[in-house]
Symmetry: C2
Subunit: 197 residues, 2 copies
DNA sequence: CTAAAAACATACCAATTGGTATGTTTTGTA
DNA sequence: TACAAAACATACCAATTGGTATGTTTTTAG
């Protein structure tokens, strides 16, 4: 990677981290510059404005992260239902970067920016649409496996599962322990079992 | 209500609406003043600072609204399970003030403010804790009714249901139609049925 | 090596922010 | 009615914001 591309990557990475903690609007360009030792000239050389940078964070960083966090486990699936549970479990309890207090970067951004900015909404929609597709594929496999009922509405169930994750990342912010995560995971397991043949 | 109390109420109500649309941090005191024809002097007579006003919105407005939207339907419950579904249905599809695009005021504030400000977190936790208690009571009634399994973990199920609502209010922001709400409600119905004896 | 383009650095700016200082008006009460 | 306190109004301020103008340095291509 060239030096310029490196600078750009550093900016995106640090912006991502700050946005995760403080939100997009509350993260100032100056904040990003202060924590990267990059200057304003460099920033506005790489990005037309703050919005373009924010969109690049979604399209170039979050999209790929989401994919690698979903695709890889989803492919090596002996039992799709167990894998779905494991993904949720690992995402909630075994991913140190993601903290209960700060929730999920993607759903934070959806909550804050989707209503405010159409470009953000569309970029985030793409991230979530491709994630949902992965779940739907896993569920189709589970149908073929005869693991779950053939009458299962895979789109509906995938939507329900993702919705639950988005929700617990929200509710979790109210608490100071991971108890509610465990509570959620237990009931998720029951729910997933209710799908079985 | 005295005139001063009226002014205070107007400020809280308009602040609530603006915060719902734009978020707490993005809603400036000047915005609130401009849309209420109240002056800055009056604002800072009624509230020590912006934070105190925000907390008053939660404690004096949102808490009561949430209660009346939950308690009343929850009490007149012939079948608790059906009532839970109806509450969700009405909240999502029959409450004009709440728009898909802007989600739910409470969960918006949780997402934005809980990690940033301990006072907000605690105030919001109280709102959600009392809401969850209502659901737990309804579920206990459903157990006594023999509607749902006696082995049901009411706390866990209540948490799961609320979590789903928080989630769909988040995911819904990505879309321009209420299709995903219907999708969610359909699967919620299936899930609730899976709880039955 | 050299010129031009890419990459970065510095200094600045107008607008907006939450908040304050210092008033004036209104209201309750003796 | 008198007067003090409550309620409100106006003018200001320092800090922060995203962004720009105008540089200098570093790469790259011929």
């Amino acid at each position: 990677m060239g030096k310029a591309a490196e600078t750009r990557k550093i900016l995106l990475q640090k912006a991502f981290e700050l946005i995760y903690i403080n939100g997009y609007q509350a993260t100032s360009v100056d904040d990003i510059l202060a924590t990267t030792n990059v200057t304003k000239g460099a920033f506005y050389y790489h990005f037309k404005n703050k919005e373009e940078m924010g969109l690049a964070v979604i399209k170039e960083l979050m999209h790929d992260t989401m994919q690698s966090q979903m695709i890889e486990p989803m492919l090596s699936a002996p039992n799709p239902l167990d894998i779905i549970y494991k993904i949720m479990h690992d995402l909630l309890l075994e991913t140190p970067f993601l903290q209960i207090k700060y929730g999920c970067p993607t759903h934070n951004l959806i909550q804050e920016m989707a209503p405010l900015n159409e470009n953000f909404r569309e970029a985030l929609l793409e991230v979530m649409a491709s994630t949902q597709k992965k779940f739907e594929t896993a569920l189709k496999n589970a149908i073929d496996n005869r693991t779950i009922k053939t009458t299962t509405n895979v789109k509906q169930v995938a939507n329900f599962i993702i919705t639950g994750y988005a929700g617990i990342r929200n509710i979790g912010k109210l608490y100071t322990s991971d108890e509610c995560y465990h509570l959620y995971l237990n009931e998720l397991k029951s729910y997933l079992n209710s799908l079985r043949t």
